[in-house]
């Protein structure tokens, strides 16, 4: 430790200087020069009838990259579920009695009541953000996280057992599979219709209405489903470690 710190500080100083030298060679901040962004901004409303250029880029112009990102998310959640599985020396109980074990914690009643009130509006707001992904800032990813937070609000309101029963694992896994597989199926439907994979083949509709921009809306919905169920699964896995696992008594 005595030699490691000054050696590392020296090398990090050199590394930072090198990075800054490279970054300062970029066009000045505010002077974006590349033509790709300007072309998309000019064409997105007329070509795709979508007013949110960011969602159109995500789910249409660069839809292949987003499929890869969504599967990174899917595989991370699968890995997390695998790592936090019940071990040989643990067993699942309905709810550990932490107070009896001497480890209790209490939440303030302000948090509990506020979270109880916010659970349903948060879910509705998340659906709104997902469904209007092609119109206003939002889309599947952002709205999915907001929907997952509705389940977290239920836990914070002190209703862990209720939240567990409202989100059974088979339903969450079904939602995740529909989300991830649905994206691929929408792409394959492009192939089935004689066009390219993930090509926008649905009718484009009139801009400004929810039913517009073809597959961008459909992909936004399935991505919202996938992201929300993935985050609820993650949270339940971690909470299970604390609240449901206990060491198995040796026979």
């Amino acid at each position: 430790m005595s030699l490691r710190t000054p050696l590392f500080l020296l090398s990090i100083a050199g590394f930072t200087a090198f990075i800054l030298w490279g970054l300062i060679g970029l066009p000045a901040f505010g002077n974006y020069q590349g033509p790709y962004g300007d072309i998309i901004n000019g064409q997105v409303v007329s070509e795709r009838h979508a007013t949110n250029a960011v969602s159109a880029v995500n789910f249409d112009y660069r839809g292949m990259d987003t499929i890869g990102e969504e599967f990174i998310l899917f595989v991370s959640v699968a890995g997390c579920t695998l790592l936090l599985r019940t071990g040989l020396d643990e067993q699942l109980v309905e709810k550990r009695n932490l107070a009896a074990e001497g480890r209790s914690y209490s939440t303030s009643s302000a948090v509990k009541s506020m979270c109880l009130v916010l659970a349903v509006p948060a879910s509705l707001y998340g659906w709104y953000i997902v469904a209007h992904g092609q119109l206003t800032p939002g889309g599947g990813f952002q709205g999915g996280v907001i929907m997952a937070s509705a389940a977290i609000f239920l836990y914070l309101a002190g209703e862990y057992v209720v939240m567990r029963r409202l989100n059974p694992m088979w339903l969450l896994e079904l939602g995740e599979s529909i989300g991830a597989g649905g994206y691929v199926l929408i792409g394959l439907s492009g192939l089935a219709a004689g066009a390219a994979f993930l090509q926008n083949i649905l009718p484009l509709g009139s801009e400004g209405s929810v039913n517009s921009s073809g597959t961008i809306w459909a992909i936004s919905m399935v991505v919202g489903l996938e992201v929300s169920t993935a985050f609820v699964v993650l949270m339940l896995e971690f909470l299970e470690q604390l609240l449901e696992l206990q060491p198995r008594r040796p026979r």
Binding site: F29, Y36, L73, G87, Q142
Partner: protein, 114 residues
Amino acid sequence: MSVFPWIVTAWLFAIGLWGVISSRNLIHQVLCLAIIQSSTYVLLLAIGYKTDEGAPIFVTAPSGSPAVDPVVQALTLTDVVVEATVVALLLSLAVQAWKRFGTLDPDRLRVLKG
């Protein structure tokens, strides 16, 4: 100051790297990795910015009005959500390390067993 975003990027990267290397706690290490990823978001968004132009949303602004680059914003927003799940995966590794070895110190986890 027009070089300020690049300085912020380099600083976040350096301080996150310092945190990862000198860390004594797995959870602290994972969060420093998240700081390094934040520096890439700052870089991406700073590259696509155009001075005094609006967001790439054309609900009230007519199509063709000046807007910043939407491609880097699309990259950043998917990356933020995916990073959260990758951080969860790394934290579950930390949970298992605590359960199996009783320590969260990466220096003491060095010895391979079996």
